[in-house]
Assembly symmetry: C2
Homo-oligomer: 473 residues x 2
């Protein structure tokens, strides 16, 4: 395919996507295919000869779309949003077109420098601590990871290394290391503890209060007990916006415990962090100025398509020392002076895409005020929905609603809620997921779609009310 | 930005990329900017108000392009290629447009099933062992990882778990575990040994023969010595196509050692694997039928833009048991029966892009014969270039040339080669990188660009000859 043929095929692909976005509400939000159904539509062997591009595009409609759960539908209220946007799609397209691999500064200086720069912009946009800036008073910096799972793993590894004088990397785990999160923390922490050779059982699940937030007194007791038993506490992960209910751990008090015991504090704000674009919501980040590392995902709630996690550290040397494998070979005056970074030493993989482009496109296209308007709209819609729930005798709120996630349930008990959930998702009109809070099934309605408007949320509530009678029966 | 505005902005972006590809040879291949130069062109703070899309596109030319090292230039001969292609770019565009997150089968069945299916196609296309197929006689399967670094880490972790009865994940590293690669293996193995809590010093660098390939006798001695010392050898990584010189480890003999000692064998064919599209090059995969895991990167030499590493295991249960964090919660009849996979349990992160689309677009657009033609063209050009080197008294070949990488040097010694390299890369006309083989500096010319033709390779040789006199002076 020549560049000129690319021009024609590219326009057709753009049109296909535009049409998809224009007609997305016609599809059932949750895919209805059975296991294996998509594979059965595909030929058993790859084609020997090339096929016309139009045949491939046609199969997107015929083969692929039936197997898609439409994350970009304005009626997608499941999990947390993954709200892509037109400028993000186009920024990512340019990244694919340039096809650079930014493992080292030298392999495309713009790939590294735009990333560093845009991540510094975001420190200002979210009013994060200056110590996370690459050119701030401290020695920190930001990097794009694929996901918050990887950010947590990187933080845990740096914590492990700092606690062991950077010797575990060299000689392996040689003592009982322990880590701490609340019972409501993301499952990726458990995965990371296994990967890092620390062991999942050495990740202590700290109990939560009535609002599902970590109890700092319980954290301190757990750390002190491990210390007394001769173990080495090395890492605490506080969550700002838990997956189940957007509970917000009390970071100031947790940070004080971490300070007293010399433990690395990571703050996982994967979903909620984007809220701090709005000054009135920045209270969620109280205490983050004491964290050793922090992450949030523009690919969740900042209009940037997956994958894009912004990961910050206060002491970049600790991170680089954790991941750098051939320091002599890689070091050069520019890297040493701190004016440029080789991001291969800030992450698990060696290679990296030019992901900063999509973030740059998004920030410039919407501007800070445009991004804030999106967040405010979603938060206001969630508050309005919560009001509707609270005013209906058949329903109750199951957790506080600090941001854009409403956890609620039918008063008829778990079976009624399960029936209601199945009916709603089976209708094709919307998609919700569930969680368990205090042992009870709750429905989660997360409002964050780029194209979600009041009419979609009102329509969801209407459908929920309509089906509530049947569910309770 | 509405879908209709996206349509217009998208066409302009497609045109920008087409124009970039049409004019790519006008740019110096290696970026000439100084550290910090790109950042200085960027405003210190993000814009408060949104900007016109055209202003962003204009800045691609004015701000970004000077900081790009042009990996897609037909004169890029550095590292290994990362040869994107028009259909890959458009497949990735569709992935961005759909914006699905394929962590579970249910979160978009097509995302999982197309990936499983296309990876099975590739087993046939490369004539890989049937045990790596998801629907083969065995219990294997394939998954897309971001990079070979991540594939190696996943393989090492699964090996660690298998060797310790899947207890290390639970309780942490509690014994001296050891791993083995040749001295020529990729640096990511060292990084992985650190991450996994095994320790970099417990990754034994096995000596190589004159062709830079691992010596199986040395491997066996190292494993036996560790066993006698009470350590637990758990993992061997053989390389098919080393980074420095595309040396090919003797996998059949290595596999026999692994079998005798019960050690997991991973085969890293990140770059070279794509060659097996051609029957006459499949000898590189001799012995792979005995491997526990295998990977190759379509994002290197199969016209698919970064990131796309195809990772296969013979026993998927070992991999899933390594990464699954909440088996009860996630398991469902479809997953259990093996008819569908939840790929979150095959990798480090939770979330995942719909990366199979670009691979599907590439395979269908070119067909098997089109892909083979690309490989054959690159290999033939490398052989021709090697012939030119061998016939010139001022140069010598520094390693065998089994595929598309030529390692050569000027007979004038290291300083002459360094001067020659600096001059060539400073010219802007091409980009080469170097390696050290047997302690001596060698120049590496890797031929794998999607748009690289004979005239580019001939032009490179002409330039090298022209500059050779000055370099020797």
């Amino acid at each position: 395919m020549t560049p000129e043929q690319f021009r024609h095929a590219g326009r057709r692909t753009i049109d296909w996507i535009a049409h998809y976005l224009e007609t997305i509400e016609r599809h059932p939000v949750l895919s209805r295919v059975a296991p294996g159904e998509i594979r059965r539509r595909l030929p058993p062997r790859a084609p020997e000869r090339g096929e016309p591009f139009d045949a491939i595009l046609q199969d997107l409609d015929d083969v692929i779309l039936p197997g898609i759960t439409h994350w970009q539908s304005p009626n997608f209220f499941a999990y947390f949003p993954a709200n892509a946007s037109p400028p993000a799609i186009l920024g990512d397209l340019v990244s694919s077109g340039l096809g650079v691999q930014g493992m080292l500064w030298a392999t495309s200086p713009a790939c590294t420098e735009l990333e560093t720069h845009v991540l510094d912009w975001l420190v200002d946009l979210l009013d994060l601590p200056d110590r996370f800036k690459s050119d701030g008073a401290g020695a920190g910096g930001g990097v794009i990871q694929d996901t918050a799972s990887s950010a947590s793993l990187c933080a845990l590894l740096a914590a492990r290394e700092r606690a062991t004088g950077f010797q575990t990397n060299e000689t392996g785990v040689d003592r009982a290391l322990t880590a701490y999160t609340s019972t409501q923390a993301h499952s990726s922490l458990e995965k990371a503890a296994g990967i890092a050779g620390i062991g999942r059982r050495n990740l202590r699940p700290i109990e939560v209060d009535a609002a599902q937030a970590m109890r700092p007194d319980a954290l301190e007791r757990a750390i002190a007990a491990d210390r007394r038993a001769g173990r080495t506490p090395c890492f605490v992960c506080a969550t700002v916006g838990t997956t189940a209910s957007t509970a917000i751990d009390p970071v100031p008090a947790i940070a004080e415990v971490c300070r007293r015991y010399g433990v690395w504090l990571h703050v996982d704000a994967a979903h909620a962090g984007s809220a701090a674009l709005c000054p009135e919501l920045r209270w969620i980040h109280a205490g983050v100025e004491h964290a050793d590392s922090y992450c949030f995902n523009p690919h969740k709630w900042m209009l940037t398509n997956f994958d894009c996690d912004c990961f910050y550290v206060a002491d970049r040397a600790a991170l680089i020392s954790t991941f750098s494998v051939t320091p002599e070979y890689l070091r050069n005056p520019a890297t040493e002076s701190g004016t440029v970074f080789d991001y291969r030493d800030w992450q698990v993989p060696l290679g990296r895409r030019f992901r900063a482009l999509k973030l740059w496109f998004v920030i410039r296209q919407y501007g800070a005020e445009g991004l804030r308007a999106h967040i405010r709209r979603h938060v206001a819609l969630a508050q309005e929905f919560a009001g509707w729930v609270a005013a209906d005798d058949r329903f109750e709120l199951a957790a506080p609603v600090p941001l854009n996630l409403v956890c609620f349930r039918h008063v008829g008990g778990d079976p009624a809620n399960q029936r209601l959930l199945d009916e709603l998702n089976g209708s094709g009109s919307l998609y919700l997921t569930h969680a368990r809070l205090d042992g009870r099934l709750v429905l989660r309605l997360a409002i964050g779609g780029t194209f979600t408007e009041r009419r979609h949320v009102a329509g969801a509530w209407q459908l929920i009310r309509d089906r509530a009678g049947a569910a309770a029966a």
